[in-house]
């Protein structure tokens, strides 16, 4: 029986003995073995070049040809020899690119996409690719296409120097090898593609991690430039941001050589001309350019300083706004253009950059918002506490400086001038509070004054202007200023001013200042009401004092005088009564004494209404009088002989008088100490006794009324009276106050 059946011949012993069949069987076996060897290499993911070489050799051996070559087709109608096998394989060097022209196997296969053969090679072949085979002595040749995933990838060429042309089934038999090759190439491509994808994913992940970690944008930009540069295997990667006024700023760079970039981070260039970044800026779409044809400042810098030869730019959009551009570029004389999918691969990176920017901007906005809220809260607290406006003005100036990084001040408008007066200035500006400037062009406050609305002046040139404002502006280096109006109860009172040494103050600053100016307006309105209230209280006290003084005067000049005169007249009458009318004399004496008592009582009463002695001699003597008249010994310590405003002296006198009266009536004291002294802006009076204490302000209603009087004058009164520990009253009166002169 047959040892082997090949399907083509009936299995019988005769086949095995038939020489042509045996030869064919052997050949088949050889082919299978060769195919198996190559298949194994492919399955082992052997690098394609090795597979190519193996195939060429197997084909050469198997087909007993003198030359076996594998060529790859290139897009520009050229072919590149990838591998050669043959006795004289140094005549067809590998890697050279040959145009596909003329009548030769590679060109035929390229044009038809099908196997081809040339049986009389020497005579009928032509074209550059035929030269070497002819020189090698090839007489017949076949070639089959290598088709990888439906695309004509290249060609296997087998050439024989024999007279006999290659067997007719050579193309078919080559086909199995080309299929294996195609698989190897597809696998290799697939692996390469996978590897590239994996690299890309890894790079994206690294950048995404930075973004998620809220890494500062500058670091993200630098990382993106580097990842993109390595990934796309370019020479340069540059990330730029588009700035107002048609400029770009370089925000991230990477160079393959590691050399410092020709335009460092922070460098600014004007857009314009024909170059990648300007194209992207104008169109908002990716663009690519080769640098033989660039113009504009950027074009010159790119080609001259950077040495770019070709580049691609892809836009970066953040929050639907064109933010900037990623540029990748080659230098040198690479003829190879950047791959077609570069724009697409850059897209994922530009999205990450956009996310980083958006995150950073939101975080920054949130942080700024939080800081702003905190600053507003601090100012509102000061306002609620009724802190004097002058402190609030400087507090707000400093808060605004802290928030916006620019110096600030608060000005009040004066209508004579018209002019501004600084009522608050942040610390770094060395202008004194109270500085007055008449309006000059370039002052945003002037526009606020005229329009009642916010105003700004950016990039003002003060160099040729004269006057104190220009001088100060030059000295402080001020270039821009913004003013925001302060409106108090419908009235334009002044403005909050922010100044900067930069050309541009942030847009939207006016809106953010609004909350501060509202607080200022409240503080001013509060202070104005409080001061009106205080003034009206003082007016009431003063009016009442004046009324009392009039009463006292009238009593003195009228009733007292009359009583004195009556008393004297009674005694005069008594003196002229004869001695023997003793009863009459005695009666007249009694009348006189009664009248004298009445005078004394009236005097006492009068002192309670108004201590005339204050007007004539002052507080010191008045206290001395009180001390002398006190039945309880008084130690008086008066360290000032100055005179003070009458309402102050009167208030102090009444408190001392009431305190003494209380001490006498309730305290059972043996000793009283009174001290009067001045300290800074205050008059300090204290009355201390060593009595039983336990007094409280409510009980002695005289003190309650005096508290009103003292507070109406802007002072304060304090009572300490622990049981058994004596009583101490201290009064603090301001020496000066804005006297509402002329009252009413």
């Amino acid at each position: 029986m047959n040892a082997v059946g090949d399907g083509a011949n009936p299995p019988d012993g005769r086949v095995g003995r038939d020489p042509p069949v045996r030869a064919r069987l052997a050949r088949l076996a050889g082919e299978q073995a060769a195919l198996r060897r190559v298949a194994t290499l492919v399955a082992q993911a052997t690098p394609p070049e090795e597979v190519f070489a193996a195939v060429a050799e197997e084909v050469g051996q198997l087909f007993r040809v003198e030359l076996a070559t594998l060529c790859r087709y290139e897009p520009d109608r050229t072919a590149v020899t990838v591998t050669t096998w043959g006795p004289a394989d140094d005549t067809l060097p590998v890697g050279i690119r040959w145009p596909l022209e003329g009548h030769n196997i590679s060109t035929l296969v390229f044009e038809t996409g099908r196997p081809a053969r040339i049986d009389r090679y020497a005579g009928s072949s032509s074209g550059p690719l035929s030269v070497a085979p002819r020189e090698t002595g090839i007489r017949s040749a076949v070639g089959t296409p290598v088709i990888v995933e439906g695309r004509l990838w290249g060609v296997i060429f087998a050439g024989s120097t024999q007279e006999q042309p290659l067997p007719p089934d050579a193309e078919t038999r080559l086909a199995s090898f080309t299929e294996l090759l195609a698989t190897a190439i597809a696998n290799a491509d697939g692996r390469a593609a996978l590897a590239r994808l994996a690299e890309e994913q890894a790079a994206l992940r690294r950048v995404a991690t930075l973004v998620a970690r809220a890494t500062p944008p500058e670091e993200v930009f630098a990382a993106v430039a580097e990842e993109v540069g390595w990934l796309l295997a370019v020479d340069f990667a540059i990330l730029v941001r588009y700035d107002p006024q048609d400029t770009l700023e370089v925000v991230g760079t990477w160079t393959r050589t590691g050399a410092p970039p020709a335009t460092p981070v922070g460098g600014r260039l004007p857009l314009g001309g024909r170059n990648v970044t300007t194209l992207v800026y104008r169109t908002g779409r990716p663009a690519r350019i080769d640098y033989s044809d660039v113009s504009g400042v950027i074009g010159q810098v790119a080609s001259r300083d950077w040495g770019l030869h070709s580049s691609i730019g892809v836009p970066v959009s953040a929050e639907s706004r064109l933010w900037g551009c990623v540029v990748v570029a080659f230098s040198g004389q690479e003829l190879q253009p950047l791959p077609a999918d570069t724009e697409m691969r850059l897209a994922s990176f530009t999205e990450l950059v956009a996310t980083a920017i958006a995150n950073t901007e939101s975080r920054a906005s949130l942080a700024l918002l939080a800081e702003e809220q905190a600053a507003l809260r601090r100012v509102a607290t000061l306002v609620a506490r009724g802190v004097p406006p002058v402190e609030i003005f400087s507090a707000v100036s400093d808060e605004v400086t802290g928030l916006f990084g620019a110096q600030a001040g608060v000005v009040r408008f004066e209508h004579e001038g018209p002019a501004v007066v600084f009522v608050g200035i942040s610390k770094a500006i060395d202008l004194p509070v109270g500085t007055r400037w008449e309006f000059q062009p370039g002052m945003a406050s002037g526009d606020v004054y005229r329009t009642g609305r916010s105003a700004r002046v950016d990039a003002m040139d003060w160099s040729s202007a004269g006057g104190p404002v220009a001088g100060a502006a030059r000295r402080l280096g001020i270039v821009s200023n913004v003013g925001s109006p302060i409106v108090v109860e419908g009235r334009l009172w002044g403005a909050m001013i922010v100044v900067s040494t930069d050309e541009l103050l942030p847009l939207g600053l006016e809106d953010r200042l609004e909350k501060f100016t509202e607080l200022l307006a409240t503080a001013i309105a509060n202070a104005e009401s409080r001061s009106e209230l205080a003034a009206s209280r003082r007016r009431i006290v003063t009016a009442s004092d004046q009324a009392r003084r009039r009463i006292e005067r009238d009593l003195h000049d009228g009733t007292q005088q009359r009583l004195v005169s009556l008393s004297l007249a009674a005694r005069a009458a008594q003196a002229s009564v004869p001695a023997d009318l003793g009863d009459l004399r005695a009666e007249l004496s009694r009348i006189a004494a009664g009248l004298a008592d009445a005078v004394a009582e009236l005097q006492e009463f009068s002192r309670g209404i108004h201590p005339a002695i204050i007007s004539t001699r002052g507080l010191g003597p008045a206290l001395r009088t009180l001390a002398r008249r006190s039945p309880v010994p008084v130690d008086l310590d008066v360290t000032t002989s100055a005179r003070f405003l009458e309402p102050i002296e009167i208030a102090a006198y009444y408190v001392a008088s009431e305190a003494l009266a209380n001490a006498m009536k309730h305290a059972r004291a043996s000793r009283i100490e009174i001290s009067l002294t001045t300290r800074r802006d205050s008059l300090l009076l204290s009355i201390r006794d060593d009595g039983i204490g336990g007094a409280d302000a409510a009980r002695g209603s005289g003190l309650a009324g005096l508290t009103d009087r003292v507070e109406a004058l802007g002072g304060s009164i304090d009572l300490h009276s622990a049981a058994g520990a004596g009583t101490a009253i201290t009064v603090d009166l301001p020496l000066e106050y804005e006297a509402a002169q002329g009252a009413g």
């Binding site: 003195h556 000049d557 007292q560 005088q561 009359r562 009583l563 004195v564 005169s565 009556l566 008393s567 004297l568 007249a569 005694r571 005069a572 003196a575 002229s576 009248l595 004298a596 005078v599 004394a600 005097q603 005339a612 002695i613 004539t616 001699r617 003597p621 001395r624 009088t625 002398r628 008249r629």
Partner: protein, 121 residues
Amino acid sequence: MPLRCMLVDDSQAFLEAASLLLEREGVTVVGVALSVAEALREARALRPDVILVDIGLGEESGFDLARLLAQDGGGGAAVILISTGVEADYGELIDESPAAGFLAKSTLSARGISRILGHTP
């Protein structure tokens, strides 16, 4: 010999009542004045033994007049300060004054004057 006395006060009513009383009590009231200037004039002209000076001479001060009189404006007359109030009201001002003493107006008497001047009654 009766004491020759001058009265200085800004109240006419008082001057009349006091003059009447003092006369009745044996003091000769040689003159009166209602102001510092008048007092100095009259004192020089009349050369009294004692001048009673009201502390509160309207806008003017009796203490000032007392000092002026002591500087030989009064020709050597003793000065006694008088007032509607009591001595305690003025304390050291009276002590520091060149006046010989103080009398309350409503208890003014010839005896009081004598006592201050050191004349035994």
